[in-house]
């Protein structure tokens, strides 16, 4: 089934979210829809799935105009969405999730679970999506949960399948499997819309690319000839340099040293297994690894959020293993946490309040029991401007910021302190290209000031473009150490998969 959108316009009070958007997705083809956060991708997809009514424009399926009043109508017409945050009931079985809303029943609404299981099996065999119908969702890895979402929409007869940021939560291996599934769906004649801001993935998988910016279609690209730089420039509206410009590192004195640090969980399992490493001033050390191999715990052990069982953490030669987070913070460690919404900021606080979360008690911002509003506002205004947080309204709440701007605000808070060590966990996860470029520049700037920088990222590209030295973590251990100039992504990828050096 071919899908065509013609001149879609959707306006919210004060925001023109979609302005005359037209695009075509053809049966058996993959259309990649790329754009920065806030470019209007989500609005467009909500229009397509019947959640919003467009103010103008038409949705055509095989040339026939459609009119969707609600999500049910879009599903019935053959449009299926796989949301970025899966729409699954965690405690239900796979089969119950798949048939929810279209349950096969015997007399009087009694569930026919046998038929539900058979339906799941039938679809999973036809499309090669191996899933056990009786498995409970919360016990399944994310990649398998995604398959359940796909089976769910296939059962409802979806001919047009929309994937919203499908690879954001997957491991590299799962991404490969996902591409295989997409190829299978394609060969079965589905029209696929792939929403992403990972340019390399769009280039790898799409047959056609449409770029959105500020609610408008600003261009099309042919994946066979386009380059990531061209796409990024189209998305942002100015030239973008994806490679990070930096001079060779000049490592100075050691700032952070871990010797045989071990951390265990409640059950005695080793989360960090005898980790030893150093970070010197003036260098960026990157921790590579697939998510869940101890990177989170490494950062938490250094910043005092997790107790160290055995081993030592030395900061500027001083033993700081037993210090609490505030003491470590005062000693001179800046920390951009991996989960900005839960650890980096308080969503319901204003920007000015978020910017003093770590220093509200200092003489600069408080006198006795009272906060010094004037000084807080002044400092917040200066930071918001210096770090290009948009919109620069310091009374807005943290929740109101886009991912990229929230991250810039956190970077502003942490980087504005003149401290010897900066730890950035997943500094650019899920944020737009413009913000990525900006944050990368700031990190390199810090290094050139002679600070020690520790970066943790699951994006190998990011590690390679930023780090001067790469450590690879696997199963709580550091399994390899390489200078960036002397290694390749392939070699590091092998270590990430568990090969030893």
């Amino acid at each position: 089934m071919d899908l065509e959108l013609r001149g879609i316009r959707k306006e919210f009070p004060g925001v023109l979210a979609n302005d005359d958007v037209s695009l075509v997705a053809r049966s058996g083809k993959v259309l990649a829809l790329i754009g920065e956060n806030g470019a209007g991708k989500s609005t467009l997809m909500n229009v397509l799935s019947g959640l919003y009514r467009p103010d103008a424009g038409e949705i055509l399926l095989d040339g026939v105009p459609q009119n969707f009043h609600d999500p049910g109508a879009a599903i019935a017409a053959g449009i299926g969405m796989v949301h970025q945050h899966f729409m699954l009931v965690q405690i239900f079985s796979v089969a119950d999730n798949v048939v929810l809303g279209v349950e096969p029943t015997t007399v009087g609404g009694v569930m026919d679970r046998k038929r539900a299981r058979a339906e799941v099996r039938e679809i999973s065999q036809r499309y090669g999506l191996a899933v056990d119908p009786d498995a409970i969702i919360e016990e399944l890895p994310v990649g398998i949960q995604q398959r359940v979402e796909i089976i769910k929409i296939l059962l409802r007869g979806a001919k047009v399948i929309v994937f919203d940021e499908p690879t954001a939560v997957l491991t590299p291996q799962e991404v490969e499997e996902f591409f295989g599934i997409v190829a299978e769906l394609k060969s079965n004649g589905a029209a696929i819309i792939f929403i992403t801001h990972k340019l390399k993935e769009a280039l790898a998988i799409a047959d056609d690319i449409t770029v959105l910016r500020s609610g408008k279609v600003v261009g099309h690209a042919d994946p066979a000839t386009a380059t990531p730089e061209e796409l990024a420039s189209l998305m942002v509206g100015r030239d973008i340099d994806l490679s990070v410009d930096k001079a060779p590192a000049k490592p100075g004195a050691t700032v952070l040293e871990l010797s045989e640090v071990t951390v265990t969980d409640d059950y005695g399992r080793k989360l960090l297994d005898s980790v030893s490493m150093t970070v010197a001033g003036g260098e960026i050390v990157g921790i590579a690894g697939i998510q869940g191999n101890g990177q989170t715990e490494l950062v938490q052990a250094i910043t005092g959020l997790l107790p160290v069982e055995t081993g030592k953490v030395l900061f500027q030669g001083r033993d700081v293993t037993k210090l609490n987070p505030r003491k470590l913070h005062q000693a001179g460690i800046a920390h951009v946490p991996e989960d900005r919404n839960h650890m980096g900021m308080v969503g319901s606080f204003s920007l000015s309040e978020n910017l003093i979360l770590d220093s509200y008690y200092s003489d600069q911002f408080s006198k006795g029991l009272q906060l010094n509003r004037g000084a807080i506002q002044e400092s917040a205004l200066a930071l918001v401007q210096a770090y290009d947080v948009r919109p620069p309204n310091i009374d807005n709440t943290g929740d109101a910021l886009s991912g990229g701007n929230a991250q810039k605000m956190i970077v502003a808070r942490e980087f504005s302190r003149d401290v010897p060590l900066v730890i950035c966990a997943q500094p650019t996860r899920g944020i737009d290209v413009g913000s990525i470029e900006y944050i990368h520049e700031q990190i390199v700037l810090k290094r050139d000031e002679g600070k020690a920088i520790l970066i943790v990222s699951t994006e190998l590209d990011e590690i390679f473009s930023l780090a001067d030295r790469i450590l690879v973590m696997f199963d709580g251990e550091i399994v390899a150490e390489r200078l960036t100039s002397e290694t390749t992504p392939t070699e590091i990828g092998l270590f990430m998969a568990g090969n030893r050096s």
Binding site: S49, P71, G72, I75, M87, Q90, L100, G101, E139, G268
Partner: protein, 426 residues
């Protein structure tokens, strides 16, 4: 599939290695077991003499079983020995993951010892106490069921107490005027109407559900107290409803002990059995149940599949409220036939505890309410046997058990994921 295998290994390891908190819990439960043994030996044993007699059939029973007599002191020593043995083994190697179960067994043994102590030199009618246990657990089980229905759909209902009280009141008034059956229907409808208020305010206006529940409780308490003084005291004929008789089910009702407990009760108790069974079936075996539970777990997912979250919640909440109103009829039509201010005495809240203890599952909640009903009827029996414990203290028993259960034994119970969260369509 490798990831699935890995996670299996992780859980496999969890069961073998004890965490620090588990070890601490094992220690504490060991100490508790020893303490109970000490109380038996130092307090109970010196106070008893002669034999304790337990009646296991009533005069009207078809099959008469002779009462069991045991030497009081001797059996107390044995029970204390069992507790000390359990405590020792807990310290020696521990019961590991079964710690809670053995602590429960320990409590049961201690309760037995209390019964031996209280009935020393007297006759203790075991069967009438057990029959009272089932009867007294009825409003608690129904209250829990009311909570389960609401919370499985994602609406917290702490207004159960008010629904019980409202049902008790209209039940007695309509019962006095038009007979018990009409009273029962009126009580059920009252619960439904109060639940409708909860549904409108929580689903349409997204008011905080805890506040609505508190409002319902206060509203009903105030309203029924006012109407009692203004209406019932002036017209005593309105507060004189027929009481449902116990109906003995042929054959089954003649089974010793079990018969009087489960098959010689009022229609309200039978109604509770039926509702527990039916609701379990509805929730876990039907389309309606699947949708209700999905709305309580992840309303967004249900909505994206074209299920109306509002409709599902309305239905579940009103159904739950009607169960609560029906339970209210037990207090008046099922026992005394008259209404007194605040006569539900917090049974709705104990029902909430039973709901949690039973893991938001109707059958689990029923079993949990048996525990509460048991403590309730035990304290009544002790009051009759004139033990040295003041009756005021005995009356605390059901509430004490509630605190112990909720604080100590629940722990891992997991509420529906979207419990208490209003749903807003995008």
């Amino acid at each position: 599939m490798t990831a699935a295998v890995e996670s299996y290994e992780v859980t496999g390891r969890k069961s073998k290695i004890l965490s620090r908190s588990q070890i601490r819990k094992a220690r504490i439960s060991g100490i508790a077991l020893f303490l109970m043994a000490a109380v038996i030996m130092l307090v109970f044993v010196p106070a008893v003499s002669g034999v304790s007699t337990f009646g296991i059939s009533t005069v009207t029973d078809f099959i008469q079983l002779s009462p069991i007599s045991v030497p009081s002191a001797g059996s107390l020593w044995i029970l204390a020995g069992v507790l000390a043995f359990l405590g020792t083994s807990q310290f020696m190697r521990g019961f590991q993951t079964k710690t809670t179960i053995f602590l429960g067994i320990g409590f049961f043994v201690f309760v037995l010892a209390m019964m031996v102590w209280a009935s020393s030199g007297q006759q203790f009618s075991l069967v009438s106490m057990l029959t009272a246990t089932v009867a007294r657990s009825t409003p608690i089980a129904l209250g829990a069921l009311s909570g389960i229905l609401c919370e499985r759909s994602g609406v917290v209902n702490i207004g159960i107490e008010g629904m019980l009280l409202g049902g008790a009141f209209t039940g007695v008034v309509m019962g006095s005027l038009l007979g018990g059956w009409i009273g029962l229907v009126a009580a059920t409808l009252t619960g439904g109407i109060l639940a409708l208020l909860l549904a409108v305010l929580s689903v349409n206006f997204r008011v905080d559900q805890i506040i609505i529940g508190v409002v319902i409780n206060i509203l009903v308490l105030g309203l029924t107290s006012f109407l009692t003084s203004q209406l019932l005291l002036k017209n005593p004929s309105l507060n004189d409803a027929p009481i449902f008789p116990s109906i003995k089910i042929p054959v089954l009702g003649d089974i010793p002990i079990i018969g009087p407990m489960f098959f010689n009760q009022t229609v309200i108790v039978y109604g509770m059995f039926l509702l527990v069974g039916l609701t379990t079936f509805f929730l876990f075996r039907t389309r309606w149940g699947l949708r209700t539970r999905s709305v309580g777990e992840n309303p967004k997912a249900a909505d994206s599949l074209g299920i109306s979250v509002a409709k599902v919640r309305y239905l579940a909440v009103v159904y739950g409220g009607m169960v609560g109103g029906f339970a209210g009829a037990w207090f008046t039509l099922g026992t005394v036939g008259r209404f007194d201010e605040g006569m539900t005495g917090g049974r709705g809240f104990i029902g909430l505890a039973a709901m949690i203890f039973g893991g938001w599952n109707p059958i689990g909640a029923f079993l949990a309410s048996l525990v509460f009903g048991f403590s309730d009827s035990l304290q009544q029996k002790f009051a009759v046997l004139e033990t040295p414990i003041p009756t005021e203290f005995l009356a605390m028993a059901p509430y004490l058990v509630t605190i112990i259960v909720v604080a100590g034994l629940v722990g891992r119970a997991r509420p529906p994921a979207a419990d208490g969260q209003p749903f807003e369509k995008q």
